[in-house]
């Protein structure tokens, strides 16, 4: 959906200071651009459950982190998400890659449960399902930041 240079430019222009991530096959190609950026820092975590409290610490310390992971990592890190977004009430924004969303015949459970899970968390979600949706990332991020609320972009992915 996005190229590495494209996403680095978008994140940097949004004021994102740190991208806290576990990559997948669609997000992974952004690594070179994010890791070499002079405008933001890529923070690699071993497990998605670390990403949310790490982003919380960055936010409390005055930075503007963004969490990036695949839906599988979202499922894995549910309690950490719950704690940071609902107990600590921090407006952490995330970009979640939805594996196999662009494969109509796919019965991947990681695809089927992505949106229902986020709805259950009552999170403000925005789909980016095709290239024409790309501007919605910027719009949604700015809207959530202005409101001081968490937000999620669901990015449609193909087969891994």
């Amino acid at each position: 959906m996005f190229t590495g240079p494209e996403i680095e430019t978008i994140f940097a222009e949004l004021g994102v200071t740190h991208v806290v991530w576990v990559p997948d096959t669609a997000i992974g190609p952004w690594e070179k651009s994010l890791a070499s950026s002079s405008r933001l820092r890529l923070v690699r975590v071993c497990r998605e459950g670390e990403a949310w409290p790490l982003a919380a610490g960055l936010y409390l310390g005055g930075q503007s982190p963004l969490v990036v992971m695949q839906t599988t990592g979202l499922f894995e890190s549910g309690d950490a998400l719950r704690n940071v977004l609902f107990d600590l009430k921090l407006p952490i924004f995330s970009l979640i890659g939805v594996r196999n969303w662009l494969v109509p015949q796919s019965r991947d459970s990681a695809k089927m449960f992505a949106e229902p899970i986020l709805r259950a968390w009552r999170l403000d979600c925005q789909w980016i399902a095709e290239p024409a949706d790309k501007p919605k990332l910027i719009e949604h991020y700015r809207r959530c930041q202005a409101a001081g609320t968490p937000g999620v972009v669901l990015m449609a992915e193909g087969a891994p």
Binding site: H18, R41, V43, R44, V45, C46, R47, G49, E50, A51, W52, P53, L54, A55, A56, G57, L58, Y59, L60, G61, G62, Q63, P65, D79, A80, R82, N83, V84, D87, L88, K89
Partner: protein, 201 residues
Amino acid sequence: MQTLNDNSKVMPVVAALQVLADLCHDDQIVVTNQGSARIWPKLRRRSLDLHYNPSTMSGAIPLALGLALSQPQREVLAISGDGSLLMSLGSLVTVIGSDVINLTIVLLDNGLYEVTGGQETPAARSAVDYAGLARAAGFPSAAEFRDLADWQSQAADVLALPGPRFIRLVVSAAPHEYLTSSTPPLAEQLAGLQQALSIKA
């Protein structure tokens, strides 16, 4: 290697934490959770303390790492229980991968899930070498103490070693009266911390 259950020496946890509280600098950020979040506020009250409760198990180290990365001019101290660390041992590798140097992890190892009533962790009957794990992950400084007098006499030196630092303290279970005490309200703490860091929420 001694296990926790071989009647080896353990430190009284309150006294072990008192050593840290006494050595803590005014501009240092301290993140406690689980049992330590109940004890520390009774030992010392500082605007740069965050008693992370309610927390997510294993979240204290990543949260402290985020603070350390965002506040590189300050030292950050994360106090974690062994049950929490066991839920995310990879967080030790995340710390090293981040290149942070201003972070100290103090592991309070009692082999118990303390706040749920004292059930044993999977490591309680084994001999997990947590300091060895930290060394293997790449921590330049990793130490462990079972004896309070040793800890009291060496703590300042260990805390001055190059970071990130890992310190395992083999401790007793927290006295019941501490575990039943509440931590300061989280919203108040977060606002106070950000105010102390001069950050506009």
